[in-house]
């Protein structure tokens, strides 16, 4: 199945809503009755991509599940900034246990609901890249291979931001973090390190895997809505820029996420039962420099003197993605 093209030559077809779009084609986020699952007053930094990604995903899931939703949260920024004792920003049933066990707790919640015959209630587990890619990876893989009825959403901000910007298995090559400082000949995170969890999820052959970006709201909501309607283990990996950890202007969160997609560095695709079935084509292709130059974590690549080899290495990753997912059509 491919995405339906909206044949509508109008200003703002790519916007969240629009008075000229019919109700069905507007996003959940444009609705006055959206849940605001993650309420105001949370302590995320200015321009936080993760706060946005979480509200986008959970609001869409609440709507798709007819408000029958329980969320299990791993430790991480999202958990810390949304629930400083005794406050909570969550407008849905929400629980937190440990850093690494969110997939296992969610599996338990799903099993309990099944035991009670509550088959209309949907379960979401969510966490950052640290909880997903590194610390909770064993539990996640177990949840996948047992095909537990859980939608796992990873908000990937590409390092441990909550504890002070340490590298994770999702940190991109050459990015500077506090554990991959720019010293001597090897600047930042080594090339070749890290893992691609969407592809690992794919390899589990689970019913549904997708990547999404906060910069493509229509696509993100469509994928969450679709995932909620599927039974079994599902995985959605959302890239969420972190102004603090990436050294970027808080106002540029969307712009950076958009450039990640448009450069090919963060491909948007969907897979069912281990096979990629759809990818979003690039609309205005840009070289990776446009994406990198907005972030201080890559500032060392721009010199003096500029590290053209490193930039070429990153460009090669983008080009590989473009070829692999057929992003230029």
């Amino acid at each position: 199945m491919s995405t339906e093209r909206i044949k509508f030559y109008q200003t703002g077809t790519f916007t969240a809503g629009n008075r000229l779009l019919d109700e069905g084609t507007r996003t959940v986020q444009s609705r006055m009755d959206r849940t605001n699952s993650l309420n105001s007053g949370h302590r995320a930094c200015q321009g936080c991509g993760e706060a946005l990604g979480a509200r986008y995903a959970i609001d869409a899931a609440v709507r798709a599940s007819h408000k029958q939703l329980i969320a299990v949260n791993a430790t991480g920024c999202l958990e810390v900034f949304s629930s400083p004792y005794p406050e909570s920003s969550w407008q849905i049933p929400w629980m937190h246990s440990l850093f690494g066990n969110a997939p296992a707790v969610a599996s338990g919640v799903a099993a309990a609901l099944r035991a009670k015959g509550r088959d209309t209630v949907k379960v979401i587990a969510q966490g950052g890249d640290g909880a997903t890619v590194d610390i909770g990876f064993g539990c996640l893989s177990g949840m996948f291979e047992r095909n537990d009825d859980v939608l796992y959403v990873c908000y990937d901000n590409e390092a441990y931001m909550n504890t002070g910007i340490q590298r994770s298995g999702a940190t991109p090559p050459f990015a500077q973090t506090n554990t991959t400082p720019v010293v001597s000949e090897h600047p930042g995170n080594p090339l070749g390190a890290g893992k691609n969890v969407p592809r690992i999820a794919l390899a589990h052959g689970i019913p549904y895997v997708a990547t999404a970006s906060v910069a493509d709201l229509h696509d993100l909501e469509r994928k969450v809505t679709k995932a909620i309607g599927i039974c079994g283990a599902r995985y959605i990996h959302i890239q969420v820029p972190c102004p603090l950890g990436w050294g970027a202007d808080p106002a540029h969160t969307m712009k950076i996420a958009r450039l990640a997609v448009e450069s090919g560095l963060f491909p948007l695709f969907e897979a069912e039962w281990g096979t990629v079935i759809q990818s979003s084509s690039i609309r205005r292709k840009v070289p990776v420099e446009r994406y990198l130059e907005l972030q201080n974590r890559f500032a060392h690549l721009f010199g003096p003197p500029p590290d053209t080899d490193a930039i070429a290495g990153i460009q090669a990753i983008a080009d590989h993605n473009i070829a692999l997912y057929g992003l230029l059509r």
């Binding site: 703002g12 809503g17 105001s40 949370h42 200015q46 969307m254």
Partner: protein
């Protein structure tokens, strides 16, 4: 009152208690900006506002909005040189919005549906207007809407001025002029034809007018003498174009040359072309790049077979030829002779060298200043040196076009209205410009301009049928929807969706948004992601 003992579990609380607004040093504020189309419109139309209605298919609302500023949309949609489209920000993205095509569609739709406008209650004041061209008609319309009684005196046999006696039929069919003029007459405006005003003060006194607006246009052609050329073989553009309106057609030779390079020269050449004579030659002393004519008009003229002799000056003539001298342009763009002569076959020469206003009858009016070139001095309220007498259009100094005259008419009407009420018109404070760099064009769908159909070339060469067709309902809608709404919120919900702190409040259907400063952290995402640049980031404390 119960006090919780220390270190006992607290009741759950909501994060709404935490007002994150106090993190902020900069804050977003909604603004309205002046879009470039509105800024450049000589008639002062609020183009973006009428396109906004048209986008919804609300054509009558769109037309009513348009009529606030311009009483003749069907005419202007055809003849205006649309400086709005030259300024349109969309041109930097793909192509400008075809504003004139949508305007014409609305104008034609109004004629088809018989839409009308409402007038204010009668004030009992009377205004004399001299000249039923675009300036006079526009002033009459706006004054009538404001409730004043208006009488127009027109020297010619028909109303319309240059819209009838200047612009050729193939650009502006006469039934369009008649219908839009009739609509103005139906508002109570009286037009007396064949009534040249000779003594302005006497006419004002006789009719007991409280104010007067002069818009007689510029109908006197500039002429030059061509040595060796029989005067009968040398015509002028004004006389020629007027003759196309049913009066006796002047005798033309088989081969006609037009001298001049402006829009009038093109109009003349293309009209002659349609009479079935030999191909017309335009002789102009500058080159294509220095011609004041609109590029598309030149192109269309060439398609129709008009020949151009750029950088040529007529030196002399005889019975059937013209001797022209090749010239060059120096660095200042001034014409320099070369001495090289050529002979061109031509039996008739039509001069299109500009026009001036015949304002000699105004010299006796006390206080009224007539310049050397025949134009009349006006102040910024369009009033002449004589209190209560206003003037506009081609007869006042400045650029000249149908739309400029229409704009003058509107402006004068506002000031005349203020004059009649004993007040002065205060212009509302303008908005800062909505520049292209403020737009986030990512959010706009790629969409090519809708093209108006063109009459086939054979018919264009042999008839005076209108050559440019109109848009239909669907294409007009698509074209209106290409508007980017530069600088003014069009309710796309982006700011509402991209705020990580839910600090943007959606006010509901048909309304805009507000910011909840209790929670806005001042990240600036809404500003950055607003497609049309309608949010500013300002310092929290100055």
């Amino acid at each position: 009152m119960d006090r919780k003992p220390f270190a006992i579990t607290l009741d759950p609380n909501t994060s709404l208690a935490n007002h994150t607004g106090n993190w902020r040093t900069m804050k977003p504020v909604y603004v309205d900006r002046l879009p470039p189309c509105n800024h450049t419109c000589p008639a002062g139309e609020n183009i973006q506002a009428w396109l906004y209605h048209a986008e919804e298919g609300a054509y009558e609302e769109a037309w009513q909005q348009l009529m606030q500023d311009n009483p003749m949309p069907a005419i202007h949609g055809r003849v205006c040189y649309h400086p709005c489209e030259g300024a349109c920000n969309r041109a930097q993205l793909d192509e400008a919005v075809s504003i004139h095509a949508v305007e014409r569609f609305l104008g034609d739709q109004a004629i088809k549906e018989g839409w009308t406008v409402k007038c204010a209650p009668r004030t009992g004041k009377k205004v004399l207007i001299v000249g039923a061209g675009p300036g006079g008609l526009s002033a009459a319309y706006h004054l009538a809407r404001l409730g004043h009684e208006v009488a127009i005196h027109e020297a010619g046999p028909k109303a319309g001025g240059m819209m009838r006696f200047g612009v050729p039929k193939y650009r502006l069919p006469r039934d369009i002029v008649e219908t839009e003029v009739a609509r103005i007459e139906s508002m109570g405006v009286t037009i007396t034809l064949n009534s040249r005003v000779e003594d302005l003060e006497a006419t004002i006194a006789e009719g007991r007018f409280d104010a007067a607006f002069l818009a007689i246009g510029a109908h006197q052609a500039r002429r030059i003498e061509i040595p060796g050329c029989d005067v009968k073989r040398v015509l002028d553009a004004v006389t020629f174009l007027r003759s196309m309106e049913g009066a006796d057609l002047p005798k033309l030779g088989r081969r006609v040359a037009v001298y001049g390079g402006g829009n009038t020269a093109i109009d003349v050449a293309r009209s002659v072309e349609r009479l079935g004579l030999e191909p017309v030659i335009i002789i102009y002393r500058r080159d294509l790049g220095h011609s004041p004519a609109i590029a598309s008009e030149i192109m269309e003229a060439e398609e129709e077979g008009v020949q151009f002799q750029w950088l040529r000056k007529i030196a002399k003539g005889d019975e059937s030829t013209l001797t022209v001298e090749e010239v060059t342009l120096d660095e200042q763009g001034k014409v320099q002779p070369t001495g090289r002569l050529e002979t061109i076959e031509a039996n008739t020469v039509i001069l299109a060298l500009g026009q001036r206003a015949d304002t000699s009858f105004l010299k006796s009016v006390p206080g009224l200043q007539v310049r050397e070139d025949g134009t009349v001095e006006v102040d910024q309220t369009m009033m002449t040196g004589h209190p209560g007498i206003f003037a506009g259009g081609d007869m006042v100094p400045g650029d000249q076009s149908v739309t400029i005259a229409t704009g003058h008419g509107k402006k004068a009407a506002r000031d005349i209205d203020a004059f009649l009420r004993g007040t002065t018109y205060v212009k509302p404070e303008g908005h800062a410009p909505a520049t292209f760099d403020r737009l986030n064009t990512w959010y706009y769908t790629d969409a090519d301009q809708s093209k108006q159909p063109l009459l086939n070339l054979i018919r264009r060469r042999s008839t005076f049928e209108e050559i440019v067709g109109g848009l239909d309902v669907d294409t007009a809608l698509l074209e209106a929807r290409r508007c980017l709404s530069c600088g003014n919120c069009f309710k796309c919900d982006n700011c509402y969706a991209v705020c990580p702190d839910n600090a943007v409040i959606k006010l509901g259907e048909g309304k805009r948004y507000a910011i909840n400063y209790d929670y806005c952290k001042g990240c600036g995402l809404c500003v950055e992601e607003c497609p049309c640049g309608a949010i500013d980031m300002v310092k929290e404390v100055e």
